[in-house]
Protein backbone atom coordinates (compact mmCIF):
# COMPACT_ATOMS: atom_id res chain seq x y z
CA UNK A 1 0.00 0.00 0.00
CA UNK A 2 1.52 3.33 -0.87
CA UNK A 3 1.63 6.44 1.20
CA UNK A 4 -0.31 9.37 -0.17
CA UNK A 5 1.62 12.43 0.79
CA UNK A 6 1.73 15.62 -1.29
CA UNK A 7 2.96 15.42 -4.89
CA UNK A 8 4.92 17.73 -7.20
CA UNK A 9 3.18 20.91 -8.36
CA UNK A 10 3.58 20.20 -12.05
CA UNK A 11 2.02 16.80 -11.80
CA UNK A 12 -0.91 18.14 -9.81
CA UNK A 13 -1.94 20.36 -12.69
CA UNK A 14 -3.48 17.50 -14.50
CA UNK A 15 -5.49 14.65 -13.10
CA UNK A 16 -4.00 12.14 -15.50
CA UNK A 17 -0.49 13.41 -14.90
CA UNK A 18 -1.15 13.23 -11.19
CA UNK A 19 -2.27 9.64 -11.48
CA UNK A 20 0.87 8.68 -13.39
CA UNK A 21 2.96 10.51 -10.83
CA UNK A 22 1.26 8.70 -7.96
CA UNK A 23 1.66 5.41 -9.76
CA UNK A 24 5.38 5.82 -10.41
CA UNK A 25 5.96 6.56 -6.71
CA UNK A 26 4.80 3.03 -5.95
CA UNK A 27 8.02 1.13 -6.65
CA UNK A 28 6.52 -2.31 -6.20
CA UNK A 29 3.82 -1.51 -8.76
CA UNK A 30 6.38 -0.22 -11.28
CA UNK A 31 8.44 -3.36 -10.75
CA UNK A 32 5.36 -5.53 -11.28
CA UNK A 33 4.52 -3.59 -14.44
CA UNK A 34 8.01 -4.35 -15.78
CA UNK A 35 7.71 -8.05 -14.87
CA UNK A 36 4.30 -8.21 -16.51
CA UNK A 37 5.74 -6.49 -19.57
CA UNK A 38 8.45 -9.13 -19.68
CA UNK A 39 5.88 -11.94 -19.37
CA UNK A 40 3.81 -10.47 -22.21
CA UNK A 41 6.95 -9.97 -24.31
CA UNK A 42 7.96 -13.61 -23.77
CA UNK A 43 4.46 -14.77 -24.66
CA UNK A 44 4.34 -12.64 -27.82
CA UNK A 45 7.78 -13.67 -29.04
CA UNK A 46 7.64 -17.24 -27.72
CA UNK A 47 8.53 -18.55 -31.20
CA UNK A 48 11.84 -16.70 -31.15
CA UNK A 49 12.72 -17.17 -27.48
CA UNK A 50 11.68 -20.77 -26.88
CA UNK A 51 14.61 -23.15 -27.45
CA UNK A 52 12.27 -25.95 -28.60
CA UNK A 53 8.98 -26.20 -30.48
CA UNK A 54 5.75 -26.84 -28.55
CA UNK A 55 5.27 -30.26 -30.06
CA UNK A 56 8.88 -31.25 -30.43
CA UNK A 57 8.85 -34.69 -28.81
CA UNK A 58 12.01 -36.47 -27.80
CA UNK A 59 10.77 -39.62 -26.12
CA UNK A 60 14.30 -40.55 -25.11
CA UNK A 61 14.41 -37.39 -23.00
CA UNK A 62 10.97 -37.77 -21.39
CA UNK A 63 10.42 -36.79 -17.75
CA UNK A 64 13.86 -35.27 -17.27
CA UNK A 65 14.50 -33.00 -14.29
CA UNK A 66 15.47 -29.36 -14.92
CA UNK A 67 18.95 -29.17 -16.44
CA UNK A 68 21.09 -26.88 -18.54
CA UNK A 69 19.50 -28.01 -21.80
CA UNK A 70 15.95 -28.11 -20.43
CA UNK A 71 15.62 -25.31 -17.86
CA UNK A 72 12.23 -26.44 -16.56
CA UNK A 73 12.69 -30.14 -17.36
CA UNK A 74 10.71 -32.20 -19.86
CA UNK A 75 7.23 -33.74 -19.76
CA UNK A 76 5.98 -37.27 -20.38
CA UNK A 77 6.34 -36.85 -24.16
CA UNK A 78 9.83 -35.43 -23.84
CA UNK A 79 8.64 -31.91 -24.68
CA UNK A 80 10.58 -28.99 -23.25
CA UNK A 81 8.50 -27.47 -20.42
CA UNK A 82 10.20 -24.05 -20.59
CA UNK A 83 9.17 -23.68 -24.23
CA UNK A 84 5.66 -24.84 -23.44
CA UNK A 85 5.32 -22.43 -20.51
CA UNK A 86 6.29 -19.55 -22.83
CA UNK A 87 3.82 -20.64 -25.50
CA UNK A 88 1.24 -21.45 -22.83
CA UNK A 89 1.46 -17.87 -21.62
CA UNK A 90 0.34 -16.75 -25.04
CA UNK A 91 -2.84 -18.85 -24.80
CA UNK A 92 -3.57 -18.17 -21.12
CA UNK A 93 -3.07 -14.42 -21.42
CA UNK A 94 -4.96 -14.23 -24.70
CA UNK A 95 -7.97 -16.02 -23.24
CA UNK A 96 -7.87 -14.01 -20.00
CA UNK A 97 -7.49 -10.64 -21.73
CA UNK A 98 -10.09 -11.38 -24.39
CA UNK A 99 -12.60 -12.61 -21.79
CA UNK A 100 -12.01 -9.55 -19.60
CA UNK A 101 -12.36 -7.19 -22.57
CA UNK A 102 -15.68 -8.78 -23.47
CA UNK A 103 -16.98 -8.70 -19.91
CA UNK A 104 -15.81 -5.09 -19.49
CA UNK A 105 -17.59 -3.92 -22.63
CA UNK A 106 -20.85 -5.68 -21.76
CA UNK A 107 -20.54 -4.92 -18.04
CA UNK A 108 -20.11 -1.19 -18.74
CA UNK A 109 -22.96 -1.26 -21.23
CA UNK A 110 -25.41 -3.07 -18.92
CA UNK A 111 -24.21 -1.19 -15.84
CA UNK A 112 -24.60 2.20 -17.53
CA UNK A 113 -28.05 1.41 -18.84
CA UNK A 114 -29.15 -0.02 -15.48
CA UNK A 115 -27.74 2.96 -13.63
CA UNK A 116 -28.89 5.69 -16.00
CA UNK A 117 -32.36 4.33 -16.70
CA UNK A 118 -33.32 3.26 -13.23
CA UNK A 119 -36.88 2.32 -14.16
CA UNK A 120 -38.12 -0.85 -15.74
CA UNK A 121 -35.10 -1.55 -17.98
CA UNK A 122 -32.65 -1.00 -15.15
CA UNK A 123 -34.63 -3.23 -12.88
CA UNK A 124 -34.88 -5.98 -15.45
CA UNK A 125 -31.12 -5.92 -16.05
CA UNK A 126 -30.35 -6.07 -12.35
CA UNK A 127 -32.78 -8.93 -11.70
CA UNK A 128 -31.12 -10.94 -14.48
CA UNK A 129 -27.74 -10.18 -12.93
CA UNK A 130 -29.09 -11.37 -9.55
CA UNK A 131 -29.84 -14.72 -11.13
CA UNK A 132 -26.31 -15.01 -12.50
CA UNK A 133 -24.84 -13.91 -9.18
CA UNK A 134 -26.76 -16.57 -7.25
CA UNK A 135 -24.24 -19.04 -8.66
CA UNK A 136 -20.56 -18.59 -7.67
CA UNK A 137 -18.73 -17.30 -10.77
CA UNK A 138 -16.35 -20.24 -11.22
CA UNK A 139 -19.28 -22.66 -11.10
CA UNK A 140 -21.14 -20.43 -13.57
CA UNK A 141 -18.14 -20.58 -15.91
CA UNK A 142 -18.03 -24.37 -15.49
CA UNK A 143 -21.71 -24.79 -16.34
CA UNK A 144 -21.36 -22.45 -19.33
CA UNK A 145 -18.26 -24.29 -20.55
CA UNK A 146 -20.07 -27.62 -20.16
CA UNK A 147 -22.93 -26.27 -22.23
CA UNK A 148 -20.85 -24.63 -24.97
CA UNK A 149 -18.33 -27.46 -25.21
CA UNK A 150 -14.58 -27.21 -24.68
CA UNK A 151 -12.25 -25.13 -26.84
CA UNK A 152 -10.49 -21.78 -26.93
CA UNK A 153 -13.37 -19.56 -28.07
CA UNK A 154 -15.92 -21.22 -25.83
CA UNK A 155 -13.62 -20.81 -22.83
CA UNK A 156 -13.33 -17.09 -23.56
CA UNK A 157 -17.10 -16.83 -23.84
CA UNK A 158 -17.78 -18.84 -20.66
CA UNK A 159 -15.40 -16.75 -18.54
CA UNK A 160 -16.61 -13.49 -20.08
CA UNK A 161 -20.28 -14.22 -19.39
CA UNK A 162 -19.62 -15.38 -15.85
CA UNK A 163 -17.81 -12.11 -15.03
CA UNK A 164 -20.32 -9.70 -16.60
CA UNK A 165 -22.61 -9.50 -13.52
CA UNK A 166 -19.92 -8.28 -11.13
CA UNK A 167 -18.78 -5.69 -13.70
CA UNK A 168 -22.35 -4.51 -14.15
CA UNK A 169 -22.76 -4.03 -10.41
CA UNK A 170 -19.46 -2.25 -10.00
CA UNK A 171 -20.28 0.17 -12.84
CA UNK A 172 -23.88 0.78 -11.86
CA UNK A 173 -23.23 1.95 -8.29
CA UNK A 174 -21.07 5.03 -9.10
CA UNK A 175 -23.42 5.98 -11.95
CA UNK A 176 -26.32 6.09 -9.53
CA UNK A 177 -24.22 8.38 -7.32
CA UNK A 178 -22.98 10.61 -10.16
CA UNK A 179 -26.54 11.12 -11.36
CA UNK A 180 -27.40 12.85 -8.09
CA UNK A 181 -24.68 15.48 -8.51
CA UNK A 182 -25.63 19.09 -9.06
CA UNK A 183 -23.46 19.47 -12.13
CA UNK A 184 -25.60 16.87 -13.84
CA UNK A 185 -28.67 18.92 -13.13
CA UNK A 186 -26.90 22.10 -14.22
CA UNK A 187 -25.78 20.46 -17.41
CA UNK A 188 -29.28 19.26 -18.11
CA UNK A 189 -30.65 22.71 -17.33
CA UNK A 190 -28.49 24.33 -20.01
CA UNK A 191 -29.86 21.86 -22.53
CA UNK A 192 -27.34 19.01 -22.61
CA UNK A 193 -28.75 15.83 -24.11
CA UNK A 194 -28.33 12.28 -22.82
CA UNK A 195 -25.35 11.30 -25.03
CA UNK A 196 -23.45 14.40 -23.91
CA UNK A 197 -24.33 13.77 -20.26
CA UNK A 198 -23.09 10.20 -20.52
CA UNK A 199 -19.92 11.00 -22.45
CA UNK A 200 -18.90 14.19 -20.63
CA UNK A 201 -20.00 13.55 -17.08
CA UNK A 202 -20.72 9.91 -16.43
CA UNK A 203 -18.03 7.99 -18.31
CA UNK A 204 -15.07 10.03 -17.00
CA UNK A 205 -16.36 9.38 -13.51
CA UNK A 206 -16.43 5.61 -13.91
CA UNK A 207 -13.25 5.32 -15.99
CA UNK A 208 -11.03 4.83 -12.95
CA UNK A 209 -13.15 2.07 -11.52
CA UNK A 210 -13.39 0.34 -14.91
CA UNK A 211 -9.62 0.37 -15.40
CA UNK A 212 -9.02 -1.01 -11.91
CA UNK A 213 -11.69 -3.67 -12.23
CA UNK A 214 -10.44 -4.86 -15.60
CA UNK A 215 -6.89 -5.18 -14.31
CA UNK A 216 -8.08 -7.28 -11.38
CA UNK A 217 -10.47 -9.02 -13.79
CA UNK A 218 -7.60 -10.26 -15.97
CA UNK A 219 -5.96 -11.69 -12.83
CA UNK A 220 -9.13 -13.56 -11.91
CA UNK A 221 -9.64 -14.67 -15.50
CA UNK A 222 -6.15 -16.24 -15.61
CA UNK A 223 -7.07 -18.36 -12.60
CA UNK A 224 -10.48 -19.22 -14.09
CA UNK A 225 -8.94 -20.27 -17.42
CA UNK A 226 -6.44 -22.45 -15.61
CA UNK A 227 -9.21 -23.98 -13.47
CA UNK A 228 -11.43 -24.74 -16.46
CA UNK A 229 -8.58 -26.25 -18.44
CA UNK A 230 -7.44 -28.20 -15.39
CA UNK A 231 -10.92 -29.73 -15.16
CA UNK A 232 -10.82 -30.59 -18.85
CA UNK A 233 -13.53 -28.07 -19.74
CA UNK A 234 -11.35 -25.29 -21.14
CA UNK A 235 -8.49 -25.24 -23.62
CA UNK A 236 -7.77 -28.76 -24.83
CA UNK A 237 -4.40 -30.51 -25.10
CA UNK A 238 -2.08 -30.60 -26.96
CA UNK A 239 -2.46 -26.78 -27.03
CA UNK A 240 -0.05 -25.59 -24.36
CA UNK A 241 -1.92 -23.64 -21.69
CA UNK A 242 -0.87 -23.27 -18.07
CA UNK A 243 -3.99 -25.04 -16.74
CA UNK A 244 -3.79 -27.96 -19.20
CA UNK A 245 -0.09 -28.34 -18.37
CA UNK A 246 -0.96 -28.57 -14.66
CA UNK A 247 -3.65 -31.09 -15.44
CA UNK A 248 -1.21 -33.24 -17.43
CA UNK A 249 1.41 -32.95 -14.71
CA UNK A 250 -0.96 -34.15 -12.01
CA UNK A 251 -0.52 -37.78 -13.04
CA UNK A 252 3.25 -37.49 -12.57
CA UNK A 253 3.13 -35.47 -9.37
CA UNK A 254 4.83 -38.14 -7.27
CA UNK A 255 7.87 -38.44 -9.54
CA UNK A 256 8.20 -35.24 -11.53
CA UNK A 257 7.48 -32.15 -9.42
CA UNK A 258 8.67 -29.85 -12.22
CA UNK A 259 5.72 -30.68 -14.43
CA UNK A 260 3.32 -28.88 -12.09
CA UNK A 261 5.72 -26.44 -10.42
CA UNK A 262 6.69 -24.24 -13.36
CA UNK A 263 3.34 -23.70 -15.10
CA UNK A 264 1.91 -22.94 -11.63
CA UNK A 265 4.65 -20.43 -10.89
CA UNK A 266 3.92 -18.72 -14.21
CA UNK A 267 0.28 -18.32 -13.16
CA UNK A 268 1.18 -17.06 -9.68
CA UNK A 269 3.71 -14.55 -11.02
CA UNK A 270 1.31 -13.08 -13.59
CA UNK A 271 -1.58 -12.90 -11.12
CA UNK A 272 0.54 -11.29 -8.38
CA UNK A 273 1.74 -8.62 -10.84
CA UNK A 274 -1.81 -7.91 -12.00
CA UNK A 275 -3.14 -7.73 -8.44
CA UNK A 276 -0.40 -5.31 -7.34
CA UNK A 277 -0.99 -3.28 -10.49
CA UNK A 278 -4.74 -3.20 -9.85
CA UNK A 279 -4.26 -2.03 -6.26
CA UNK A 280 -1.74 0.62 -7.30
CA UNK A 281 -4.00 1.88 -10.08
CA UNK A 282 -6.84 2.13 -7.60
CA UNK A 283 -4.69 4.22 -5.27
CA UNK A 284 -3.37 6.40 -8.09
CA UNK A 285 -6.56 6.96 -10.04
CA UNK A 286 -9.03 7.34 -7.24
CA UNK A 287 -7.81 7.50 -3.65
CA UNK A 288 -11.42 7.34 -2.44
CA UNK A 289 -11.58 3.73 -3.56
CA UNK A 290 -8.60 2.74 -1.47
CA UNK A 291 -9.35 -0.37 0.54
Amino acid sequence: MMKTEGGGNKARKHRFGDAIFQFTRNRLAVFCLLVLGAIIFCALFADLIAPFGIDEQQISEALQAPSRSHWFGTDNYGRDIFSRVLHGGRVSLLVAIAATLLSTVFGVLFGSVAGYYEGRIGNLIMRIMDIFMAIPSLLMAIVLAASFGAGLNNTILAIAISSIPSFTRVVRAPILAVKQNEYMEASRAIGARTPRLILRHILPNILAIVIVQSTLGVANAIISVASLSFLGLGVQPPTPEWGTMLSAGRAYITKCYWMVTFPGLAIVLSVICLNVLGDALRDALDPRLKM
Binding site: R127, I131, S137, L139, S147, S227, L246, R250, G264, I267
Partner: protein
Protein backbone atom coordinates in the same frame (compact mmCIF):
# COMPACT_ATOMS: atom_id res chain seq x y z
CA UNK B 1 -37.10 -7.91 11.54
CA UNK B 2 -39.24 -11.00 10.94
CA UNK B 3 -41.03 -9.11 8.20
CA UNK B 4 -37.69 -8.37 6.55
CA UNK B 5 -36.57 -12.00 6.75
CA UNK B 6 -39.82 -13.22 5.22
CA UNK B 7 -39.53 -10.60 2.49
CA UNK B 8 -35.97 -11.64 1.72
CA UNK B 9 -36.93 -15.32 1.58
CA UNK B 10 -39.78 -14.47 -0.79
CA UNK B 11 -37.36 -12.48 -2.92
CA UNK B 12 -35.19 -15.57 -3.25
CA UNK B 13 -37.98 -17.45 -5.03
CA UNK B 14 -37.87 -15.58 -8.37
CA UNK B 15 -34.06 -15.73 -8.31
CA UNK B 16 -34.11 -19.49 -7.79
CA UNK B 17 -36.72 -19.91 -10.53
CA UNK B 18 -34.44 -17.85 -12.78
CA UNK B 19 -31.46 -20.03 -11.85
CA UNK B 20 -33.42 -23.18 -12.63
CA UNK B 21 -34.48 -21.81 -16.03
CA UNK B 22 -30.93 -20.69 -16.81
CA UNK B 23 -29.30 -23.99 -15.87
CA UNK B 24 -32.07 -26.05 -17.46
CA UNK B 25 -31.73 -24.24 -20.77
CA UNK B 26 -27.92 -24.28 -20.74
CA UNK B 27 -27.80 -28.01 -20.20
CA UNK B 28 -30.77 -28.66 -22.50
CA UNK B 29 -28.83 -27.20 -25.40
CA UNK B 30 -25.54 -28.77 -24.35
CA UNK B 31 -24.00 -31.24 -26.79
CA UNK B 32 -25.08 -34.88 -26.51
CA UNK B 33 -28.41 -36.70 -26.63
CA UNK B 34 -29.44 -37.88 -23.14
CA UNK B 35 -31.08 -41.02 -24.55
CA UNK B 36 -27.88 -41.98 -26.32
CA UNK B 37 -25.88 -41.22 -23.17
CA UNK B 38 -28.07 -43.58 -21.12
CA UNK B 39 -28.21 -46.40 -23.65
CA UNK B 40 -24.71 -46.09 -25.04
CA UNK B 41 -23.41 -45.41 -28.55
CA UNK B 42 -24.21 -48.88 -29.87
CA UNK B 43 -27.94 -48.79 -29.06
CA UNK B 44 -30.34 -49.18 -32.04
CA UNK B 45 -32.16 -46.09 -33.28
CA UNK B 46 -35.57 -47.47 -32.24
CA UNK B 47 -34.48 -47.99 -28.64
CA UNK B 48 -33.08 -44.47 -28.50
CA UNK B 49 -36.29 -43.05 -29.93
CA UNK B 50 -38.33 -45.01 -27.35
CA UNK B 51 -36.10 -43.74 -24.55
CA UNK B 52 -36.49 -40.14 -25.79
CA UNK B 53 -40.25 -40.59 -25.67
CA UNK B 54 -40.06 -42.10 -22.18
CA UNK B 55 -37.95 -39.20 -20.87
CA UNK B 56 -40.27 -36.68 -22.49
CA UNK B 57 -37.43 -35.27 -24.59
CA UNK B 58 -39.60 -34.96 -27.70
CA UNK B 59 -41.84 -32.40 -26.02
CA UNK B 60 -41.26 -28.69 -26.56
CA UNK B 61 -38.54 -27.11 -24.41
CA UNK B 62 -40.89 -25.01 -22.27
CA UNK B 63 -43.19 -27.96 -21.54
CA UNK B 64 -40.17 -29.96 -20.36
CA UNK B 65 -39.05 -27.08 -18.16
CA UNK B 66 -42.46 -26.53 -16.57
CA UNK B 67 -42.74 -30.26 -15.84
CA UNK B 68 -39.26 -30.23 -14.27
CA UNK B 69 -40.06 -27.30 -11.98
CA UNK B 70 -43.51 -28.64 -11.07
CA UNK B 71 -41.95 -31.92 -9.97
CA UNK B 72 -39.40 -30.07 -7.81
CA UNK B 73 -42.03 -27.89 -6.16
CA UNK B 74 -44.67 -30.55 -5.58
CA UNK B 75 -42.57 -33.63 -4.81
CA UNK B 76 -39.06 -32.32 -4.22
CA UNK B 77 -38.14 -34.57 -7.13
CA UNK B 78 -35.10 -33.49 -9.15
CA UNK B 79 -35.41 -36.36 -11.61
CA UNK B 80 -33.26 -39.45 -11.98
CA UNK B 81 -29.56 -39.70 -12.68
CA UNK B 82 -28.81 -40.81 -16.27
CA UNK B 83 -25.90 -42.84 -15.07
CA UNK B 84 -27.15 -44.72 -12.02
CA UNK B 85 -30.89 -44.21 -12.54
CA UNK B 86 -31.17 -43.27 -8.85
CA UNK B 87 -33.09 -40.18 -7.73
CA UNK B 88 -30.89 -37.08 -8.02
CA UNK B 89 -31.93 -35.91 -4.53
CA UNK B 90 -30.54 -39.13 -3.07
CA UNK B 91 -27.26 -38.87 -5.00
CA UNK B 92 -26.76 -35.25 -3.92
CA UNK B 93 -27.73 -35.69 -0.28
CA UNK B 94 -25.29 -38.58 -0.04
CA UNK B 95 -22.43 -36.23 -0.95
CA UNK B 96 -23.57 -33.14 0.90
CA UNK B 97 -22.41 -34.05 4.44
CA UNK B 98 -18.82 -34.38 3.17
CA UNK B 99 -18.98 -30.95 1.59
CA UNK B 100 -20.49 -29.50 4.77
CA UNK B 101 -17.71 -30.99 6.91
CA UNK B 102 -15.13 -29.69 4.45
CA UNK B 103 -16.68 -26.23 4.49
CA UNK B 104 -16.66 -26.25 8.30
CA UNK B 105 -12.98 -27.21 8.42
CA UNK B 106 -12.03 -24.62 5.80
CA UNK B 107 -13.93 -21.82 7.54
CA UNK B 108 -12.25 -22.73 10.82
CA UNK B 109 -8.85 -22.69 9.11
CA UNK B 110 -9.68 -19.40 7.42
CA UNK B 111 -10.80 -17.61 10.59
CA UNK B 112 -8.03 -19.02 12.79
CA UNK B 113 -5.33 -17.98 10.31
CA UNK B 114 -6.79 -14.84 8.77
CA UNK B 115 -8.45 -12.93 11.59
CA UNK B 116 -5.73 -12.70 14.28
CA UNK B 117 -2.95 -12.04 11.77
CA UNK B 118 -5.10 -9.39 10.06
CA UNK B 119 -5.67 -7.61 13.38
CA UNK B 120 -2.01 -7.81 14.44
CA UNK B 121 -0.95 -6.66 11.01
CA UNK B 122 -3.14 -3.54 11.25
CA UNK B 123 -2.24 -2.74 14.86
CA UNK B 124 1.46 -3.00 14.05
CA UNK B 125 1.26 -1.33 10.64
CA UNK B 126 4.53 -1.22 8.64
CA UNK B 127 6.24 -3.54 11.15
CA UNK B 128 8.06 -6.70 10.09
CA UNK B 129 5.00 -8.83 10.92
CA UNK B 130 2.78 -6.53 8.89
CA UNK B 131 5.06 -6.56 5.86
CA UNK B 132 5.36 -10.32 6.04
CA UNK B 133 1.60 -10.79 6.42
CA UNK B 134 0.84 -8.43 3.53
CA UNK B 135 3.35 -10.20 1.27
CA UNK B 136 2.12 -13.69 2.15
CA UNK B 137 -1.47 -12.50 1.79
CA UNK B 138 -0.77 -11.12 -1.68
CA UNK B 139 0.95 -14.30 -2.83
CA UNK B 140 -1.80 -16.48 -1.36
CA UNK B 141 -4.68 -14.62 -3.03
CA UNK B 142 -2.80 -14.75 -6.32
CA UNK B 143 -2.32 -18.49 -6.21
CA UNK B 144 -4.84 -20.79 -7.86
CA UNK B 145 -5.63 -22.94 -4.86
CA UNK B 146 -5.58 -26.16 -6.83
CA UNK B 147 -1.93 -25.46 -7.55
CA UNK B 148 -1.32 -24.89 -3.86
CA UNK B 149 -2.99 -28.27 -3.28
CA UNK B 150 -0.54 -29.95 -5.64
CA UNK B 151 2.43 -28.19 -4.03
CA UNK B 152 1.22 -29.41 -0.62
CA UNK B 153 0.96 -32.96 -1.99
CA UNK B 154 4.53 -32.73 -3.31
CA UNK B 155 5.81 -31.47 0.05
CA UNK B 156 3.76 -33.41 2.62
CA UNK B 157 2.89 -36.61 0.77
CA UNK B 158 5.71 -37.18 -1.68
CA UNK B 159 8.76 -35.70 0.05
CA UNK B 160 7.95 -35.86 3.77
CA UNK B 161 5.39 -38.70 3.56
CA UNK B 162 3.44 -37.19 6.48
CA UNK B 163 -0.03 -36.98 4.98
CA UNK B 164 -2.07 -39.08 2.55
CA UNK B 165 -2.41 -37.54 -0.92
CA UNK B 166 -6.05 -38.38 -1.65
CA UNK B 167 -9.26 -39.78 -0.28
CA UNK B 168 -11.38 -38.76 2.69
CA UNK B 169 -11.32 -41.35 5.45
CA UNK B 170 -9.77 -40.08 8.69
CA UNK B 171 -8.84 -36.72 10.20
CA UNK B 172 -5.40 -36.76 8.60
CA UNK B 173 -7.02 -36.79 5.15
CA UNK B 174 -8.69 -33.46 5.93
CA UNK B 175 -5.63 -31.41 6.73
CA UNK B 176 -4.30 -30.74 3.24
CA UNK B 177 -7.67 -29.99 1.56
CA UNK B 178 -8.61 -27.67 4.43
CA UNK B 179 -5.24 -25.95 4.14
CA UNK B 180 -5.60 -25.64 0.37
CA UNK B 181 -8.97 -23.93 0.52
CA UNK B 182 -8.43 -22.29 3.91
CA UNK B 183 -5.13 -20.65 3.01
CA UNK B 184 -6.28 -18.51 0.10
CA UNK B 185 -9.51 -17.65 1.90
CA UNK B 186 -7.53 -16.76 5.01
CA UNK B 187 -5.44 -14.46 2.83
CA UNK B 188 -8.45 -12.54 1.59
CA UNK B 189 -9.83 -12.41 5.14
CA UNK B 190 -6.46 -11.12 6.33
CA UNK B 191 -6.45 -8.37 3.71
CA UNK B 192 -10.02 -7.34 4.50
CA UNK B 193 -9.47 -7.45 8.28
CA UNK B 194 -6.30 -5.41 7.98
CA UNK B 195 -7.84 -2.65 5.88
CA UNK B 196 -11.04 -2.57 7.89
CA UNK B 197 -9.22 -2.39 11.24
CA UNK B 198 -6.88 0.28 9.84
CA UNK B 199 -9.88 2.37 8.88
CA UNK B 200 -11.33 2.17 12.39
CA UNK B 201 -8.13 2.48 14.37
CA UNK B 202 -7.69 6.17 13.56
CA UNK B 203 -11.19 7.17 14.60
CA UNK B 204 -11.78 9.64 17.39
CA UNK B 205 -13.55 7.17 19.64
CA UNK B 206 -10.43 5.00 19.67
CA UNK B 207 -8.33 7.98 20.77
CA UNK B 208 -10.94 8.68 23.44
CA UNK B 209 -10.89 5.08 24.65
CA UNK B 210 -7.11 5.17 24.91
CA UNK B 211 -7.21 8.57 26.64
CA UNK B 212 -9.56 7.11 29.21
CA UNK B 213 -6.78 4.70 30.09
CA UNK B 214 -8.48 1.66 28.66
CA UNK B 215 -6.30 -1.42 28.23
CA UNK B 216 -4.99 -1.79 24.64
CA UNK B 217 -6.56 -5.24 24.30
CA UNK B 218 -9.97 -3.84 25.26
CA UNK B 219 -9.53 -0.93 22.85
CA UNK B 220 -8.73 -3.26 19.98
CA UNK B 221 -11.24 -6.00 20.70
CA UNK B 222 -14.10 -3.89 21.97
CA UNK B 223 -13.83 -0.54 20.24
CA UNK B 224 -11.98 -1.25 17.01
CA UNK B 225 -12.95 -4.80 16.09
CA UNK B 226 -16.64 -4.34 16.75
CA UNK B 227 -16.73 -1.46 14.32
CA UNK B 228 -14.52 -3.20 11.79
CA UNK B 229 -16.57 -6.37 11.82
CA UNK B 230 -18.95 -5.82 8.90
CA UNK B 231 -16.58 -6.27 5.94
CA UNK B 232 -14.94 -9.15 7.83
CA UNK B 233 -18.28 -10.84 8.25
CA UNK B 234 -19.11 -10.32 4.59
CA UNK B 235 -15.96 -12.10 3.47
CA UNK B 236 -16.53 -14.99 5.88
CA UNK B 237 -20.18 -15.28 4.83
CA UNK B 238 -19.49 -15.21 1.11
CA UNK B 239 -16.64 -17.71 1.44
CA UNK B 240 -18.87 -20.03 3.42
CA UNK B 241 -21.57 -19.71 0.78
CA UNK B 242 -19.08 -20.60 -1.94
CA UNK B 243 -17.63 -23.47 0.10
CA UNK B 244 -21.11 -24.94 0.52
CA UNK B 245 -21.05 -25.41 -3.23
CA UNK B 246 -18.00 -27.57 -2.78
CA UNK B 247 -14.40 -26.64 -3.35
CA UNK B 248 -14.81 -27.76 -6.94
CA UNK B 249 -11.21 -28.03 -8.09
CA UNK B 250 -9.78 -28.93 -4.70
CA UNK B 251 -12.18 -31.85 -4.30
CA UNK B 252 -10.99 -33.05 -7.70
CA UNK B 253 -7.32 -32.98 -6.69
CA UNK B 254 -7.73 -34.79 -3.40
CA UNK B 255 -10.49 -37.09 -4.72
CA UNK B 256 -12.90 -35.93 -2.02
CA UNK B 257 -16.39 -37.33 -2.62
CA UNK B 258 -18.17 -34.00 -2.14
CA UNK B 259 -20.68 -32.05 -4.17
CA UNK B 260 -17.96 -30.35 -6.26
CA UNK B 261 -16.47 -33.61 -7.45
CA UNK B 262 -19.97 -34.96 -8.09
CA UNK B 263 -20.68 -31.98 -10.33
CA UNK B 264 -17.52 -32.33 -12.41
CA UNK B 265 -17.87 -36.11 -12.70
CA UNK B 266 -21.48 -35.64 -13.78
CA UNK B 267 -20.51 -33.00 -16.35
CA UNK B 268 -17.87 -35.35 -17.75
CA UNK B 269 -20.34 -38.22 -18.00
CA UNK B 270 -23.07 -35.85 -19.26
CA UNK B 271 -25.31 -36.78 -16.35
CA UNK B 272 -27.19 -33.49 -16.66
CA UNK B 273 -30.02 -34.06 -14.14
CA UNK B 274 -27.40 -34.41 -11.39
CA UNK B 275 -25.60 -31.27 -12.58
CA UNK B 276 -28.87 -29.30 -12.60
CA UNK B 277 -29.82 -30.51 -9.14
CA UNK B 278 -26.42 -29.79 -7.68
CA UNK B 279 -26.25 -26.29 -9.17
CA UNK B 280 -29.72 -25.53 -7.80
CA UNK B 281 -28.64 -26.69 -4.36
CA UNK B 282 -25.50 -24.53 -4.55
CA UNK B 283 -27.55 -21.49 -5.59
CA UNK B 284 -29.91 -22.11 -2.68
CA UNK B 285 -27.05 -22.45 -0.16
CA UNK B 286 -25.29 -19.40 -1.57
CA UNK B 287 -28.45 -17.26 -1.37
CA UNK B 288 -29.14 -18.47 2.19
CA UNK B 289 -25.57 -17.65 3.26
CA UNK B 290 -26.01 -14.13 1.83
CA UNK B 291 -29.31 -13.74 3.66
CA UNK B 292 -27.75 -14.80 6.97
CA UNK B 293 -24.91 -12.29 6.49
CA UNK B 294 -27.44 -9.52 5.82
CA UNK B 295 -29.42 -10.41 8.94
CA UNK B 296 -26.27 -10.52 11.05
CA UNK B 297 -25.36 -7.01 9.89
CA UNK B 298 -28.34 -5.58 11.69
CA UNK B 299 -27.64 -7.61 14.82
CA UNK B 300 -24.02 -6.46 14.99
CA UNK B 301 -24.67 -2.90 13.94
CA UNK B 302 -28.16 -1.64 14.77
CA UNK B 303 -27.41 1.57 12.85
CA UNK B 304 -27.78 -0.35 9.60
CA UNK B 305 -31.23 0.08 8.18
CA UNK B 306 -32.01 -3.43 7.17
CA UNK B 307 -34.21 -2.23 4.30
CA UNK B 308 -31.27 -1.11 2.30
CA UNK B 309 -28.90 -3.75 3.59
CA UNK B 310 -25.95 -3.05 1.38
CA UNK B 311 -22.93 -5.01 0.36
CA UNK B 312 -19.97 -3.85 2.32
CA UNK B 313 -16.83 -2.69 0.59
CA UNK B 314 -14.05 -5.20 0.69
CA UNK B 315 -15.96 -8.22 -0.43
CA UNK B 316 -15.80 -7.41 -4.11
CA UNK B 317 -12.29 -8.68 -4.59
CA UNK B 318 -13.21 -12.00 -3.20
CA UNK B 319 -12.41 -15.01 -5.31
CA UNK B 320 -13.61 -18.51 -4.97
CA UNK B 321 -12.32 -21.99 -4.74
Amino acid sequence: MIEYIIKRILMMIPVLIGVSLLVFSLLHFAPGDPARIILGDDAPVEAIEAKREELGLNEPFLVQYVKYVTKIVTKGDLGNSFKSNRPVTEVILERYPTTLKMAGCCILMMVVMGLPIGIISAVKQYSLIDNLAVTIGLVAVSMPNFWLGMVLIIIFSVKLKWLPASGFYGWNYWIMPAMTVGFSNAASLLRTTRSSVLECIRQDYVVTARAKGQKESVVILHHVLRNALLPILTVIGISFGIMLGGAIVTEQIFSIPGIGKLMIDSINSRDYPVVQGAVLLVALSFSLANLIVDIMYSIIDPRIQIKGAKKIKGAEKYDEN
